[in-house]
Amino acid sequence: MAEKEKSGGIRRGWETIWGMGILLIVWQMAAGSGIWSAYVLPPPAKVARALTKLVESGVLFCHILVSGRRVLTGFSIAFALAMAGGILATQVHTAEEYYGGLLEFMRNVPPISLIALLILWFGIGEISKIIIIVLASFFPMYLNIRKGFFSASIRLLEVGDVFRLTRWQKFCRIVLPSAVPDILVGMRIGLGYSWRAIIGAEMIAASNGLGYLILDAQQMSRSDKVIVGILTIGTVGILCDKIFSLLIGRVAGVRGAGGVG
């Protein structure tokens, strides 16, 4: 079984490499056809040169670190808020009636639309950038955490009742562990959204970060650097996603494929 999974994984790896290879060939052919100028569609070799230069100078890593720090800060704050909101919703039944409407409203407002107000209220420093990331990643995490908390098995909660656990003990020992898979899924989606929001966040007068790298390159008409920035965000996003999918896989492995028995 394990060998079958391993060979499946290797096959998927080869398929991905093939897919990437085909994309590179098509890209090279399109760039070399002369239909588009190198400014509109830079050839892969030019992008690779730009990437090498950015790596060798260490500039790319600085941008990754700065963006990573912003993403991590925004994501952590959003996670803490989402957990607090989820706990409040499960522990105080009427609480959600008060803030549910506001959350639903905010969920439908794109964070980028708030940039003007955020600059006005918080200036052009780090706070505005982090708020954009918080707004982008909060909702997928909150909704998944909430779902995890509310879908704790009644049958397991009754076991807690039999052992005369208090409401809080039942939450800590049954509801919270039951919700771990949903929490991890929420975190995985939330982290993805955080990386997606980085461009918007770094549109606010940033002088470093991957979003800045892309926007600066755009203004300097350096499409090759724009593509390097996009590729870097995508790659870092995939790496973060892989970490979470490994974690989710571990949790699923510990619990088995079945339900709560």
């Binding site: 397991l156 009754e158 039999v162 562990p177 510990v254 619990r255």
Partner: protein, 239 residues
């Protein structure tokens, strides 16, 4: 434990369905009392009321000199184990941290035949083993009384028979009072020191089997005649 005048009704599709209609029952502190009845006659409701998982409309449940039934251990139809915990952590789930000790855990693992599976997860165990973990968990809680709601109903014949024998062995060692709910006449005759028929929301005739030794041969003349008597009685109620 004594139960007096227990009433419970549910609202089903706008209609009031009275499941228990003033049920009286005395449960021995040490024997196995089997409540026998058809599906839907209120056996599980009775058990849930005693366990405190539901509130009675009327009536009293008291244990010994106390006004409440005391510490109750429950074994449900399904094992209801925490899938994220190992066998040993599941067994100790209801025990307070400061009262957890390796000796009791080892004793329970040996008692329920789970030695070697301490670190296993519930999904790695068979149905019978999962029920044994549930039984060990209930015993670790050191209850005054054990409630068992058709715990072997989902098991195959061979595992069920084995589990019944194990329950008798454990009962002889632990000597806890047990209320065992089942719809199987054979199971009632195998385990019960007292069999009570639950029908029409009250306890009907009860049968004392305290003088019949374990293990019982269900094919013996005596047990066959008792089985016939129980079937006749239940059929009488059904008419």
């Amino acid at each position: 434990m004594r139960i007096r005048g227990l009433r419970k009704s549910y609202q089903v599709s706008g209609r009031c369905l009275e499941v228990l209609k003033g049920l009286d029952l005395d449960l021995a502190d040490e024997g196995i009392t089997v409540v026998l009845g058809r599906s839907g006659c209120g056996k599980t409701t009775l058990l849930r009321l005693i366990a405190g998982l539901e509130t009675a409309d009327w009536g009293e449940i008291a244990g010994g000199e106390m006004t409440d039934p005391g510490k109750i251990g429950v074994i449900f139809q399904e094992p209801r184990l925490m899938p994220w915990l190992t066998v040993e952590k599941n067994i100790l789930f209801g025990v307070k941290k400061k009262r957890q000790d390796r000796e009791t855990l080892s004793y329970l693992l040996a008692l329920t035949g789970l030695i070697g599976f301490e670190k296993a997860r519930p999904f790695q165990l068979s149905g019978g083993m999962q029920q044994r973990v549930a039984l060990a968990r209930a015993l670790a809680y050191e209850p005054d009384f054990l409630l068992m709601d058709e715990p072997f109903a989902a098991l195959d014949y061979f595992t069920r028979t084995q589990m019944q024998q194990e329950l008798l062995r454990i009962h002889q060692k632990e000597n806890k009072g047990i209320l065992f709910v089942t719809h199987s006449i054979e199971e009632a005759l195998t385990l019960g020191t007292k069999i009570v028929i639950l029908e029409n929301g009250i306890c009907g005739k009860s049968y004392d089997l305290g003088d019949v030794a374990f293990p019982r041969d269900l094919l013996s003349e005596e047990m066959l005649s008792r089985k016939r008597e129980l079937i006749l009685r239940i059929e009488e109620y059904c008419q």
